[in-house]
Symmetry: D3
Subunit: 186 residues, 6 copies
């Protein structure tokens, strides 16, 4: 127990349905202490489906995995492919970084970083997704390494990023880290 | 579409079942672009239920809402009720704060804080839950206000907390904030 | 075959659920040549139900049986309880009778009938309901008997009434009959 | 709410299943005040099906849409294709027209009409179906136009036809109209 | 896998439903190699149920467990309560014993036994039920002990009984055993 | 009533699913007095299935019909194809025959029979299966015919065999018959 029966229209493909049954199982087990062994979730296909006086032949499409989308964005930023990364951003996108005014464009971020370090890289320890109403929040955290402006190296400095993903685009990024704890000259 | 039919044993109560259908709907809509209007989730009760050669008469109990548990913990910490707060902690609990070595006991945290500010308070902007296999991660973020050691006040300093909740207890807390960006004397 | 499983919130009562399974069986058997013996329809209750981001605790109420409502209306008309009958009429109600301009008020009908017969009564042979989108059409047909203006009696004259019922009120009545075929002096 | 899950054997085709979900939704909403937006009906296919100790591999076939069948019959009558129209009639078919004795054969009707008008045509305003146990009743109503025996024209004269359809054939037709109200010489 | 959802009318009680889910699980696992851990069977109650144009409010009653019924019969026979035992027998009951003509009455059996042993008792090793169409066959086997006509004792002699149970009564009993292998004087 | 909905992964084939619905119907009707006409059992396929944190794409395979397996074994024994018959035997197989010590090998049985008859054959009157937890018991009974050691013929002598089948192999055979009742020289 519990048994969860999901009725879908056909056409989603195995990857999407797999993600669906996995997430529904996790959501369920966040509410009741059901063991994994007793949590059964499956998808069945409707042959014909009507709601709201309309017979529908196709469901709303699969959504990209939000944390995969964030990984792709972060990879492009790491490679300084700003044009590529910008394609992930929703209109009205804003970034909030420690000690910086809100920024809207990735070029601003790069420019601002130049006043703090020569180079910075990320090692990811974990990605978490929080599934909301029309928005998925992705958190990733881990450690930063890089080179300060004075040429000295750093590593193991904790960071966390928070991304809001809606309709397949990032509409907001919040960043926290411990750089200021160890920045030379502070 | 989709229609999700959840079979439970009776006995959970309305609050738990409500939380269940809400979360299952969110998990579903994180995978496919189903509109809320077309996402139907309901619970039905099994009268008799057998799995694994055993007839079961009661399912695994309801779990406390992890973010509610975190709110309660943070409230007790705010009130400096360390004994009360400690009841929320799992064996092996560890805290990771900016610029501090890992701490195990709440008293360590209070002591360490005395070296950084006279007083600190939190205003929460958002709580997010990420539902994992046997663990729920709670993120809360917002702003800090308080009084520095030199008596000057601060406010609007961003923070984020990450809590891992398993079996109703907090087993890890990670904290990031921008205090170091604005701490006097840095 | 087929098997039809209807999920409802509890609270409708046995009479409503009985009507529901009967009508769903008839609708089904109007589309496929399923024998009654192989047509299974049942209602199960959802314990908790969410759609459109809302947990609902009560479904849309039972509707009065449209043909019962028409019978009641016709009974009141037969008894010349015009005030009682008028309570069944929707705003904008119109009546269409043979050889008469459209009428809006029951008093008009009574007045108009005075020019055609001294008395008229109905014997119902059949009631049929046609279930539409937001409207149920009720047909009743049978024979008229009564007394002409010249005092001679008539009987066995065919009639049919068509009523449109929406939201529990009659919004239109159409009447056909063979009175003109046998009316004295025609 | 409600959610209606129909289990069928495969093989009916999309048109039949579409008609099925539409009609089941209408039948449901004739009993409870469920909004269209909250009325979900779908068909799922059974892979193997047993009832009455027999595994069945095919369900009872799809039935022709009764109102479509009536339209086809009326079209053939309009075209005076009596042989074609007669193929729609069940053994024991009877017609009841205003001012006429019951008729069994379409030729009788044509002959009888010659005593009433030179030509008559129908404009349909509405078709309604009433789904019964083994019989669907089709009502169509609208207006008649044509030419009287004296050569004068008429139009806008109300009519209604009632057809009983069982096993794909018409077993009875009842007709009412206002011709007698306006027939010249009456 | 598999998941088996049984729809019943309410009223059977927990013992019957428990027996039902257990037996359905066994029947399923006799056909496919599903592990017990993955075989889920549950009962849900229909609130209103129609088949064959009839709304039913009560299902066919629970049947007595056939092997329990056989145990009771054998106990009464052991106690030589022939009148009590006879109440378990269907009209037309017949017994087939080794080396005996078919017998219809329990008294015949007792009489016949007097020619074979002074006393006989049974130790049951196993009961098996075979569920058929309208009949359950119960097999019980084990060993016989007793006293031969010559006063010598015997024990450990294998036997098997086969009972056909229909509508709660025993309609046939077949007995095999190894008595003839060891009967003195043979 | 009842309606039984079995969810399987696809791939079993029609013969297996047919056997499944038949047996589940019999198991059900062994518990409640449901008429065959009112006992509906069907299989539906899950498109994606998760239990115990694993998405499964194939269910446990179909099991051979235990009574068919016994028939095949008995046929090979009848034909004295001991090597072929031995392939049906589980490790640890044992046979229990009237008047014989337990035997483990088919050759022992043949050898032992040589001391009792020249030839023996079986006519089967019935096969019954009893479905247990991990084991199916097959009973077959009927009559023996053959030739005694002294050359005289016999026929119509009752027998019953009991076989335990687990994982597609026979792990035990028990045999009872009336040979000793009529064996010459006894």
């Amino acid at each position: 127990m519990p048994v969860i029966d999901i009725t879908l229209l056909p056409g989603y493909g195995s990857e999407t349905e797999t993600r669906l049954v996995q997430r529904v199982a996790l959501a369920t087990r966040s509410v009741i202490a059901a063991p994994a062994a007793g949590t059964t979730v499956y998808v069945k296909h409707a042959s014909t489906y009507q709601r709201d006086n309309r017979v529908m032949t196709q469901g709303g499409g699969p959504l990209p995995e939000a944390s995969g989308l964030v990984r792709a964005f972060l990879g492009l930023m790491q490679d300084r492919d700003l044009a590529g990364a910008a394609r992930f951003l929703a209109p009205g996108f804003e970034m909030y970084f420690p000690g910086a005014a809100p920024m809207q464009r990735l070029e601003q971020l790069v420019e601002w970083g130049r006043g703090r370090y020569q180079r910075v890289g990320k090692t990811y320890a974990r990605f978490d997704e929080s599934w909301g109403d029309g928005v998925t929040v992705v958190y990733c955290s881990g450690t930063l390494d890089g080179v300060w402006l004075d040429g000295s190296a750093f590593e193991g400095i904790r960071f966390i990023d928070r991304f809001e993903i809606a309709e397949g685009l990032i509409r907001r990024q919040d960043v926290w880290n411990d750089l200021a704890e160890s920045m030379p000259g502070r």
